[in-house]
């Protein structure tokens, strides 16, 4: 999970449709800069575009099973399947 706030702006991150070394290359809707999680670093780095060389820090996130997660966090909300 990454922060998407930069210089007081909120970026809309999405998949660019590209992968690089089996990792999705992201981009932001606002400037179409490309964002990538460089191996050995934390967070996202803008590898090309308006925000070149800027970084977005990451927050804790883990892949786990629902039953284990909700046992640890009984008040957890869950993303609903999209209606559209």
């Amino acid at each position: 999970m990454y922060s998407r706030e930069l210089d007081g702006e909120v970026l809309t991150l999405a998949a660019s449709g590209w992968t690089y070394e089996n990792t999705f290359v992201l981009y932001d809707h606002e400037t179409e800069s490309l964002w990538y999680h460089l191996e050995g670093t934390d967070g996202l780095t803008c590898i090309s575009g308006f925000y070149a060389d800027r970084t977005l820090p990451e927050y804790f996130a883990m892949v786990t099973r629902w039953n284990r997660w909700v046992k640890q966090y009984p008040t957890s909300k869950i993303l609903q399947k999209k209606r559209q």
Binding site: R4, T12, G17, W18, E32, I47, S48, R65, S76
Partner: protein, 175 residues
């Protein structure tokens, strides 16, 4: 050889499996990406979405055009790669500054192929549809300022990104 019956069998199933196999030969070694790919296949197949189109990747390299220096790329010579929608992306800075190899950019599905979730709907405990606590499906779990949220991989595999706001913080949950 991947079981083509998984993809509906027949000639089309065989083509999908072959497409996966050839795409997989040199690129898909990362466990994470393979997990995404298989999740996308399984969930897409069961959900009736056209995930097969995403998987049928051509093995060819992206079209690469090298051009004059561009300000928007941070001053490095522009290198354009074209995705399958015809959209061009300047990766010159990525090459000059981070050593990216243009030929290694793959898929090029275009920005609309895997749309992010921009307005996520979340269920709280007690609300109708909140899943039984004994179910063991996979999720991405996050906690930010004591606000715990779970994002099922079945959904994440189809969207890759959820643009969220958690306790006033704007974040992107990524698979």
């Amino acid at each position: 050889m991947l079981p083509y019956r998984l993809f509906g069998g027949g000639t089309y199933g065989g083509q999908v499996a072959k497409g996966l196999q050839s795409a997989g030969r040199s690129r898909i070694r990362s466990r994470g990406f393979m997990a995404w790919l298989m999740a996308a296949v399984c969930f897409g197949y069961s959900c009736g979405t056209s995930v097969e189109e995403i998987i049928l990747v051509e093995g060819r390299q992206p079209e690469i055009d090298r051009g004059a220096p561009s300000d928007s790329a941070g001053g490095a010579p522009s290198i354009w790669i074209t995705d399958r929608t015809g959209k061009k992306w300047d990766i010159g800075h990525a090459v000059a500054r981070y050593g990216f190899v243009p030929e290694k950019f793959a898929h090029g599905l275009g920005p609309g192929a895997i749309p992010p979730i921009l307005e996520p709907l979340l269920l709280a405990p007690g609300e109708p549809g909140y899943p039984d606590r004994n179910q063991s499906f996979l999720v991405i779990g996050t906690v930010l300022e004591e606000d715990a949220r779970a994002y099922p991989l079945q959904i994440m595999s189809q969207h890759e990104i959820v643009d969220e706001e958690i306790q006033g913080e704007y974040v992107a949950v990524a698979y």
